[in-house]
């Protein structure tokens, strides 16, 4: 492997990610764990929005399905934690494929509303299904454990989450360069041209939703075991909206952008706590500003600045 600025930056980021928890307290470990969990959702949204050109304001629905499927299969079926997480991902993926069916007919605003409706239904059903999900009382979820060893501290759990994030980031990179991923991007660029190349739109939209929901479901599962307690309030419209905001702000076309998005969403509530109910307004305005001014997200900032400087220096010359 040759040494490029990219590999140097990558190694630096890795060093920081590995070294970060030291010296932080319990709350710091928790925030780091949350960053990873959010970043995995952002990876999922990148597949759907960045690659597929679809929209979803219902990802809290997939997140909830992953969380409850995993928690319930550990509690009720006695599955080991790792298997529970896999089940969470698979259940969410199956629902992702189902949600894709209306997406084949509608686009834009209508798709946004359809996904929103889906998330509200999921939240409501989980709430009403009391004997299974605990309804209002919620559900107590055991701590994560690996091969019989409990990850009692978020310090240890953070490293596990980091590994999962890296694994899924690797998978999404593979997907992006696969024929399936490239065909999906082709459909986004021109669906007429892509279909005239023999690329089936329905199949690829279903795959995009399923893969995106899988990532999000895995994240939900990991979140359930971090929190130790699940209640349906977590999986609200506000959660779906903040996921979308995070993915856009980090950068929809970059895995590092997904990580930045996770950092943003984990830290923003800490900073904005003072603003109470005005928080949602701030999220909304940030989202719109980013879409207008920096559609490539924070990760594209250095490139945008570089280009601006080049333009300025050319104008001066």
């Amino acid at each position: 492997m040759s040494i490029t600025p990219r590999t140097i930056t990558g190694s630096l980021v890795m060093l920081i990610l590995v070294g970060l928890p030291f010296g932080l307290g319990n709350y710091g470990y928790y925030i780091l764990a949350i960053i990873m969990i959010y970043a995995i959702v952002a990876l999922g949204l990148n597949v759907l929005i960045g690659m597929g050109g679809q929209i979803s304001i219902g990802h809290a629905g997939f997140w909830a399905l992953g969380a409850y499927a995993s928690a319930l299969s550990v509690i009720k079926l006695g599955l080991p934690f790792l298997l529970g997480v896999a089940v969470g991902g698979m259940v969410a993926a199956a629902f992702g494929a189902l949600v894709a069916l209306p997406a084949l007919r509608v686009q834009g605003h209508y798709l946004a509303i359809a996904t929103l409706g889906f998330a509200l239904v999921v939240q409501q059903v989980l709430f009403e299904w009391e004997w299974l999900t605990g309804g209002r009382q919620g559900l107590f979820v055991p701590r994560p454990s690996l091969f019989g060893i409990e990850l009692a501290s978020d310090f240890g759990y953070y490293y596990f989450l980091l590994a999962v994030f890296l694994l899924l980031a690797w998978m999404s990179g593979n997907f992006a360069k696969s024929h399936t991923g490239r065909s999906l991007m082709a459909l986004r660029m021109s669906s007429i041209a892509a279909e005239c190349c023999g690329i089936p739109r329905p199949k690829h939209i279903i795959i995009a939703f399923a893969v995106s929901a899988f990532f999000t479901g895995v994240s939900g599962a990991l979140y359930a075991h971090l929190l130790g307690h699940l209640s349906t309030e977590t999986f609200s419209l506000a959660a779906s909206l903040s996921f979308l905001t995070m993915a856009v702000i980090g950068g929809l076309h970059s895995r590092a952008g997904a990580l930045l998005g996770g950092v943003y969403l984990a830290l923003a509530p800490e900073v904005l706590r003072e603003f109470k109910d005005a928080q949602m307004v701030i999220y909304g305005v940030t989202l719109i500003l980013f879409m207008q001014l920096l559609p490539g997200g924070l990760i594209s900032l250095p490139e945008v600045v570089r280009r601006a400087i080049r333009r300025l220096s050319r104008a001066a010359a």
Binding site: F175, S178, H179, R182, A186, S190, E195, G198, R201
Partner: protein, 257 residues
């Protein structure tokens, strides 16, 4: 047995008749031209064959299979590929990527293989890449293979679109004004290319063209459309002499010439 049979095709847009009971055949190994004034329904017909439009009445048989109930991508996968009058490229992608996407559907891999980058998926990508390179070279695009399509001049973009269509190994190629916007020298080269595709590669061609020199030079048979109706059909020379055609189309042009 014709390769493509068009039987009684009719279509209208908002009450405006675009095609009225048009029938003709294209036989394997033929180069058939469609001519007619603007708005005659030529592009509409091509769009019906590639199923971007759904005809209101009539049938389109390709190798005896009715295309009317097929989707756009099924028709493409059956071996009908096309180019567009106003280009329909993946503009933000490189030439190589455009051509590779033209043949991607033939190389199927499993989703798990894609996500985990299994050797099977990697082998598939390599095979597709090799074939794309072959096509890029044979279409004379090797020098610009890694250039983003939108940075290329119009004429080269047209070649990219043709290369992408050929990547699908079509049995039938639909060309919508391949020589539009080209100078006489370039038009001549287009005519040669079309000839070569038939003679060398055995590809059947149905094309729309306004440049009569190209039509006369390459087409075995010409179908003339006017106001959505077929008003003539025959060899280029026959068509040129038919009074109805002269009145509707060639007459116009010779009066201007």
């Amino acid at each position: 047995m014709p390769l493509l049979e068009i039987i009684g095709l009719s279509m209208s847009f908002f009450g405006l008749r675009a095609l009225a009971d048009v029938s003709f055949d294209v036989h394997a190994g033929e180069i058939v031209g469609m001519i007619g004034p603007n708005g005659a329904g030529k592009s509409t017909l091509l769009n019906c064959v590639s199923r971007l439009y759904r005809p209101e009445r009539g049938s389109i048989y390709f190798e005896r299979e009715d295309l009317v109930n097929r989707t756009v991508y099924e028709v493409a996968a059956m071996g009908i590929r096309r180019t567009f009058q106003n280009l329909e490229l993946f503009r933000d992608a490189s030439v190589r990527e455009n051509v590779t996407l033209g043949l991607a559907y033939r190389f199927k891999s499993s989703l798990l293989g894609d996500l985990l980058d299994l050797p099977s998926a990697r082998a598939m990508r390599r095979a597709a890449q090799e074939e794309a390179n072959r096509i890029i070279t044979s279409c004379g695009l090797a020098d610009v293979a890694d250039v983003q399509v939108s940075d290329l001049p119009y004429g080269v973009q047209k070649s990219v679109e043709l290369a992408r269509a050929l990547a699908g190994r079509p049995k039938l190629l639909l060309l919508d004004e391949p020589a539009a916007g080209m100078n006489p020298e370039e038009s001549r080269r287009v005519a040669e290319t079309v000839r070569h595709l038939r003679d060398g590669e055995g590809i059947t061609v149905l094309l729309i063209e306004h440049d009569m020199r190209v039509v006369m030079k390459v087409c075995d048979r010409v179908v003339v459309l006017d106001h959505g109706e077929k008003i003539g059909e025959g060899s280029p020379i026959e068509v040129r002499r038919a009074p109805a055609v002269i009145k509707a189309y060639l007459g116009d042009e010779s009066a201007h010439a």
